[in-house]
Symmetry: C2
Subunit: 201 residues, 2 copies
DNA sequence: GTCCTTAGTGATCGAACGATAACTTATCTC
DNA sequence: GAGATAAGTTATCGTTCGATCACTAAGGAC
């Protein structure tokens, strides 16, 4: 296989494993297993574990911004009116759709709590601010609207990171919280979560 | 020193170190150094690193709920009117005040992204739902209000985890985002962040 | 058909980490 | 004051992990 294609497979596997176990918790051996290659190859293909993580974060960010851009693009000729979804709602749906790429939002979230790290910190801050500026400048949100939108996103990340959906059948309050968080996307998220039921480490 | 007092010191040190480096990234040796004891004593005093982390999470949760309870308690005879802060604003201020205990909110946040872990996951979900129920039932919020409040909290956690305040002097957009996130508490948070400037690992 | 580049593996190394064991010191009890 | 108990340390062990090294196989160029 071509090197670049193999690197692509490794990156997808890494995204998933980093999302599940965090930057420190994930091991290159786990990633290698998930990608179907040997452990040294994972390291050699990206230099170091840290560089692989940074590549995953960068990829995740570009995926998110690309999805937002497609929504904003199509917003020009979208119908308006009380019965049509707002731009904010459509961007929110695009955000939740990122869950289709396993580990994408969670890898970002793991980066967001490692701001103290001298390498990951700047990357995380820069990425977050890139999203902030895009929503404000390209989507036309006010600073207050951006903040509210991002806050909803961070709550969604937390619900996913906590695997709160595991409590859906057993806790009515969790059900209430999840329903409010995902709204029309709830069933889709439930299906995705069911597919990725925890395998053994 | 009495064992219980020493355990208290270790727990505070652990809260700080876990907040900085995460559950996996933090080492018992770092915690020991921060607490002024030997590494084996940290382990022996709490059984395992995992049990120490769970104790930290439990402590953090009780601190948060206690602060909320004091606000709700004092809310009965609080003045109302347009020029007085709402209950939500006062609870938000109590939340930000938790930053006075180093690592408290961040240790919680680290637990919130480890939902896959068979031990930390249930503890994190249970703790989060405990806060949810308290805000809804004791503070009298509607489900929608609780969700919005928690979302703001998760954004605050993200700002802290990213150390976004480090960009305050260099990035006007970060300044704008931080001003919206912390409002009247911004100066207080800035002072706290300046105090805990990153020491070497 | 030889040569060189690319893709990839197996073996292994050194460092770091959590945990355990054995020991020391101080305090309190009878 | 002997003996027990609690507090805490030093030394060390086994495991795990990221990284490195040496090697092999495949394929294209000439």
């Amino acid at each position: 296989m071509r090197g670049e294609d193999r690197r692509e497979l490794i990156m997808q596997a890494a995204m998933k494993v980093f999302g599940d176990y965090g930057y420190v918790g994930a091991t290159t051996a786990q990633i290698a297993r998930a990608a179907g290659v040997s452990q040294p190859y994972v390291v050699q293909a990206f230099g170091t574990k840290e560089q692989l993580f940074l590549a995953v974060i960068e990829r995740a960010l570009q995926s998110l911004l690309g999805a937002f851009a497609r929504v904003v693009e199509s917003d020009r000729d979208a119908p308006v009116g009380p019965e049509h979804p707002t731009l904010s709602a459509r961007l929110g749906a695009a955000y939740v759709d990122q869950l289709n790429e396993p580990g994408l939002l969670l890898s970002l979230m793991h980066a967001f709590v490692l701001g103290k790290d001298h390498t990951i910190g700047p990357a995380g801050r820069g990425g977050f601010m890139q999203v902030y500026r895009y929503l404000r400048d390209a989507a036309g949100f006010s600073p207050e609207e951006v903040r509210a939108f991002l806050a909803e996103g961070m709550l969604i990340n937390t619900m996913i990171g906590l695997r709160m959906i595991d409590e859906f059948d057993t806790d009515a309050d969790a059900r209430e919280l999840l329903a409010g968080s995902f709204e029309r996307k709830l069933d889709q998220v439930r299906r995705l979560a069911a597919d990725s039921a925890s395998p053994p480490r």
